[in-house]
């Protein structure tokens, strides 16, 4: 009995000590929150989740918890959490919103960290993209991926319409779309997503605007130039004409979702769409047998009449560390891990293009599918400069477009409205 009591005491002491040791181990493990707008399981698992797993294997003292938020409410939810004191340690930042978040003081400046880092080599990044992360001489984020849009065209519909190749100019684009458009058979020439402000500003207007060399804001982003820039007016007019005059788009273009555009294309009911490298995955998810170079091809965006050359809206994602992080050093370690060429290649492989040259030789980027994007990239740029009122600017572009296609205004009236709205109300 005496022995039994002794064993019990020893067992209990051991249990308490083991418990406390385990608790200490758990306490020592630092928890980082990483916010991302990637919610689709396949993209998440093959991309960021893989990189995060590798990071945790390499850094067993750090646990990374992902906060996945749908793109539509991503900016709002991240901002609300930051203001509520529960913001992420590291998060993706959409290129147009960087200036807003940096201006709000939410981000950690990275200059000193980058100067000490062996991984982040500024010279290895695409220069324009790298400079985009610099505001007033300070580095607030680093690129995670970049993209540009190209023209996707359906082989079957092109063949049926007697078209031998993709259009190279705006006139050819209209002609091709008109030959494909067959309303009674519910076949349409061309479509772009327009159901949120970013789609409207980048995918719909952005490609034509950049291809035509137009600008809707001045370089400083302090006033609208849409009305005084003939190239911008022509691009806007052309976009609206596709729907109201040439009638080569499906119904619902006032607020067309990307999912509907992709579905129509896969079903063989849409001749052309404009999208980034992510489109290939989107199309394959709808129909795994629908393959690039078998069922559809890609080409650079048709050249604008004012420039005679192609152009495309450039977007992409950045990654930043947040100022309110309780573990700023660990947050920077995660950010640095994301910047390894092999990490960037993993992420870019499932959605866009790597932002630095060292990652180009890794992953699938030698696949001929990517060639057109690398051809397009030198002529790509964001449709408007980085301004803190970027959501306002994009929404105003969407509203101007909808005033024409849904409200019966002329393109000139809508441009005048856009000018006034941006200069006198949104950029003040």
């Amino acid at each position: 009995m005496k022995h039994a009591r002794g064993y019990l005491v020893v067992f209990l002491c051991g249990a308490v000590l083991a418990g406390s040791a385990r608790a200490q181990t758990t306490q020592r493990r630092i928890r980082l929150v990483y916010a991302t707008p990637v919610t689709q399981a396949q993209i998440w698992e093959a991309g960021e989740a893989t990189v995060i797993r590798r990071f945790m294997e390499a850094n067993p003292d750090i646990e990374v918890v992902a906060r996945q938020i749908a793109f539509e409410s991503y900016d709002t939810q991240v901002l609300l959490s930051v203001r509520g004191g529960t913001g992420p340690d590291v998060a993706r930042v959409n290129t147009p919103t960087l200036r807003m978040w940096a201006g709000a003081g939410y981000l950690q400046p990275l200059d000193e960290f980058i100067s000490r880092s062996d991984v982040i080599q500024p010279a290895d990044y695409w220069e324009g993209l790298w400079n985009f992360c610099r505001i007033d001489g300070k580095q607030w984020a680093v690129p995670l991926g970049t993209d540009c849009r190209v023209l996707f065209y359906h082989f079957g519909l092109f063949r049926e319409a007697g078209l031998t190749g993709p259009p190279a100019t705006w006139d050819e684009l209209v002609a091709a779309a008109q030959r494909i458009q067959d309303k009674p058979r519910k076949r349409y020439g061309l479509a772009m997503p327009t159901n949120n402000e970013w789609n409207a500003a980048y995918d719909a207007l952005g490609n034509f605007l950049v291809a035509n060399g137009g600008h809707i804001l001045n370089e400083q982003g302090t006033r609208s130039t849409a009305g005084e820039d003939p190239a911008a007016r022509e691009a806007f007019q052309f976009l609206c004409d596709l729907i109201t005059r040439h009638d080569v788009c499906p119904p619902g273009m006032a607020s067309m979702s990307g999912e509907v555009v992709d579905s129509l294309f896969v079903q063989g009911r849409l001749g052309m769409l404009m999208g980034g490298p992510y489109e290939r995955g989107n199309l394959e998810r709808l129909n795994p047998n629908f393959q690039w170079n078998v069922h559809y091809g890609t080409a650079v965006i048709p050249a604008g009449p004012a420039t005679g050359r192609s152009g495309s809206a450039q977007g992409g994602w950045l990654v930043a560390a947040f100022a309110q992080s309780r573990h700023p050093q660990e947050a920077l370690r995660l950010l640095e891990f994301f910047q390894r060429p092999e990490s960037l290649a993993i992420i870019a492989a499932v959605e866009n293009l790597p932002p630095r040259r060292a990652a180009m030789n890794l992953g699938p980027f030698s696949d001929p599918f990517y060639k057109v994007f690398f051809d397009q990239l030198p002529t790509a740029r964001p449709p408007f400069p980085s301004v803190p009122q970027a959501p306002n600017v994009a929404r105003a572009v969407q509203r101007a477009y909808q005033r024409v296609v849904a409200g019966g205004a002329t393109a000139d009236e809508a441009i005048a409205w856009l000018d006034n709205k941006l200069t006198h109300h949104f950029l003040r």
């Binding site: 609300l80 200036r99 709000a104 006032a254 509907v260 849904a406």
Partner: protein
């Protein structure tokens, strides 16, 4: 039998004090959850408060002036008015009609009532997505029906002329069961002798409805109208799921505009000013409505 002790002045004072003490927690909750946030909102509305600016200078009433200068706020107010009045009247008309019809001894009426309730308990976002697909110009059931009779397809939610009407229709569908439930409950309490006596006197269904049913349900209609008004006026989810306030701002109501200005654009001063105006409008509308309803009830 013991007689209760007389109420002295001291006891009266002590009762009053006890009453005040018991009221304090409720008062504290009201101050904490309503008065302080409203005052805070009022203060913010007087400053230029932008998410991306580190300084917040005092600007007086400039945020209020900006709202009216841009033209979006008056449009949103008009949209809110049409959306609220259209929805409440539609819900009331259909709800009362169905309640009266379902009072009749019809086969399967309980099943019908239960099915109707499903739409009310459904989250607004889900209802919005269902209706969005129904209105979809390419795959929607509405255009499929039109094409059967040879009519051209139409972009119901994509035209500024029809988008708000479609939203109101969806909201009527969503709100009718509430009216049906409340009015049915009241109708079941109306003594059948009233209808029997009227029938003996030769009153037709129209007279019975006007002179018996309407006076009997007036109280519950007032309550339903008030609640529907508040819910619809502040509604966000259904419109957001249907149109996100577009095309242009054809379906943007004041709560949606506040969300856009404050949450998406980070202009807190202007968003706070909109909220204050919304609060005043709401309070005034409810005040007028309640006063009229109570006066009418006292008269009857």
């Amino acid at each position: 039998m013991r007689t209760p002790p007389p109420i002295t002045a001291a006891r009266s004072r002590s009762d009053a004090m006890l009453g005040n003490v018991l009221f304090l927690p409720a008062l504290a909750v009201i101050v904490l959850l309503f008065v302080i946030p409203v005052l805070y909102e009022l203060v913010i509305s007087l400053y230029r408060s932008r998410l991306y600016e580190q300084t917040n200078p005092f600007v007086g009433l400039q945020n209020y002036a900006w709202l009216f200068r841009t033209g979006d706020f008056p449009t949103a107010m008009l949209n809110t008015l049409i959306w609220t009045v259209g929805s409440v009247i539609g819900q009331a008309a259909v709800g009362i009609f169905l309640a009266v019809v379902l009072m009749q001894d019809l086969p399967g009426r309980n099943v019908f009532r239960t099915l109707l309730l499903c739409t009310w308990i459904m989250p607004g976002v889900v209802g919005g997505i269902i209706w969005r697909w129904m209105f979809d110009p390419i795959v929607g059931i509405l255009n499929a029906a039109l094409s059967i009779v040879g009519l051209p397809e139409f972009d119901w939610l994509g035209q500024t002329s029809t988008a708000l009407g479609c939203c109101i229709l969806a909201n009527i569908w969503k709100g009718v069961p509430f009216w049906l439930l409340m009015v049915s409950a009241r109708l079941q309490a109306v003594p059948s002798e009233l209808y029997d006596a009227a029938a003996v006197d030769g009153a037709g269904w129209r007279h019975r409805f006007v002179h018996i049913t309407i006076p009997q349900i007036r109280g519950v209609v007032t309550i339903c109208a008030l609640l529907s008004f508040i819910w619809t006026f502040n509604s966000f989810d259904l419109i957001y799921a249907l149109t996100r306030g577009g095309p242009d701002i054809a379906t943007t109501t004041v709560p949606m505009l506040i969300y856009e200005i404050g949450m998406r654009n980070g202009h807190y001063g202007e968003a706070a000013a909109s909220s204050i105006i919304l609060l005043i409008m709401m309070a005034a509308a409810i005040g007028i409505f309640m006063r009229r309803s109570l006066t009418r009830q006292e008269e009857t």
